[in-house]
């Protein structure tokens, strides 16, 4: 578990350098899925602390946003479109809250993330 947390922190540090925490949130979400329900609920505070540090945001506000996201994620766990929509809304709110600016790395990063999603998720459904 510790290795996974360090790995997530390394990913977050790179993503905070480039743009949005796409991989961090996606892999963090999968990490939460492996924890017990109570532990995962409180791990959300840890994730929001990391985001608050790396994106210069308020910890309580990030926690509130992530708790709402966590609630939606658990409530609609089997509905992929709703999960994707909440994920996109979360990323857009992070973009505006952290006052991020556009950069060519965004496109590269986003393209890599989509490639990763397709390669490691949707192919499973296809096969």
């Amino acid at each position: 578990m510790l290795t996974q947390i360090i790995w997530l922190l390394i990913i977050l540090s790179f993503e905070a350098t480039m743009g949005l925490p796409l991989f961090f949130m996606y892999l963090g979400d999968r990490f939460l899925g492996r924890l017990s329900e109570r532990l995962s609920l409180f791990a959300v505070f840890g994730i929001s602390l990391c985001l608050a540090i790396f994106y210069n945001l308020s910890w309580p506000i990030m926690s509130a946003i992530l708790l709402v996201w966590y609630f939606l994620r658990t409530a609609f766990t089997k509905q992929t479109p709703i999960y994707i929509i909440t994920f996109i809304i979360l990323q857009i709110s992070l973009f505006f809250l952290a006052s991020l600016t556009w950069h060519y790395f965004y496109l590269l990063h986003l393209a890599f993330f989509i490639w990763y999603l397709v390669k490691f998720n949707f192919r499973k459904y296809a096969s």
């Binding site: 905070a16 350098t17 480039m18 329900e37 540090i53 910890w59 006052s99 600016t101």
Partner: protein, 255 residues
């Protein structure tokens, strides 16, 4: 698997923790500055690593554009040689203005040198209220205005680059003496509110005029494109190209 009651207790506990966090922040007891300084250092290392990784791509791209760049440099060199005398006059004028401003209640003595907190996404400088930085101060690199200080934390401040300057406009003057307002549209720096008959030509240098927090005579950039598409408009707009990139400089001055 938790039952409904257990889940409800969990959510109530989470809400309690959230309330405590808001309360601690309200009391200013949530101090993350030390961790943020560490994260900024970490991001700086990542930035250097990413630059090294992307350097071959930039080199290939630069080689591709080498002849065009050479022509551009020659043009800039001749342009620079022509305006040296003008800059000397401006420097003198700037010195006099500085003396005048220093005799007012405002203090323009303080110049803080800082490294930008390197991140492709956020524009920050590694100095904050601990070094006396105030919102609205100018961020410069060798006399070129790069942006203005926006929010000031204890050890870092966010910078609004000129291209992001939407809520405020700066009064500027071109090397031909035409005054206008400088704004950003998110991507480009625009020189606006120029009368349509005013002489504007590509290559003109743009300098600041005195404004709150900004002294006169700072170089903003040069006119890259003048929009005269619609003759019906009473004003014309030009795109200003900066000669220095915030993301590429090692140090900036905050005044």
């Amino acid at each position: 698997m938790l039952n409904g009651q257990g889940r409800l207790i969990n959510y109530l506990l989470a809400l309690l923790v959230l309330f405590v966090l808001f309360f601690l922040q309200f009391l200013n007891l949530l101090n993350l500055n030390g961790l943020r300084s560490f994260s900024n250092w970490w991001k700086g290392q990542n930035y250097l690593l990413l630059q090294k990784l992307t350097q071959p791509i930039w080199r290939i791209q630069n080689m591709w554009q080498l002849s065009a760049r050479l022509e551009d440099l020659q043009y800039r060199y001749s342009e620079a040689a022509a305006i040296v005398s003008q800059l000397q006059t401006l420097q003198q004028e700037n010195r006099e203005l500085r003396q005048m401003l220093e005799n007012t209640d405002r203090s323009y003595n303080q110049v803080v040198i800082s490294a930008p907190v390197i991140s492709f996404a956020q524009t920050l400088v590694a100095v904050g209220s601990d070094r006396g930085i105030q919102p609205g101060s100018a961020v410069l690199h060798q006399g070129t205005l790069l942006g203005l200080i926006d929010q000031v934390d204890d050890r870092q401040s966010s910078v609004v680059l000129l291209a992001q300057l939407r809520e405020r406009a700066l009064v500027v003057r071109t090397s031909q003496g035409v005054q206008g307002l400088l704004r950003g549209n998110g991507r480009e720096i625009l020189l606006t509110e120029i009368p349509s008959d005013a002489p504007l030509s590509e290559g003109d240098l743009v300098f600041t005029e005195t404004a709150p927090g900004v002294k006169a005579g700072f170089l903003v950039g040069r006119l890259a494109k003048v929009n005269r598409d619609n003759q019906a408009f009473a004003t014309q707009t030009a795109v200003v190209e900066q000669l220095v990139n915030f993301f590429e400089v090692a140090l900036v001055e905050v005044q």
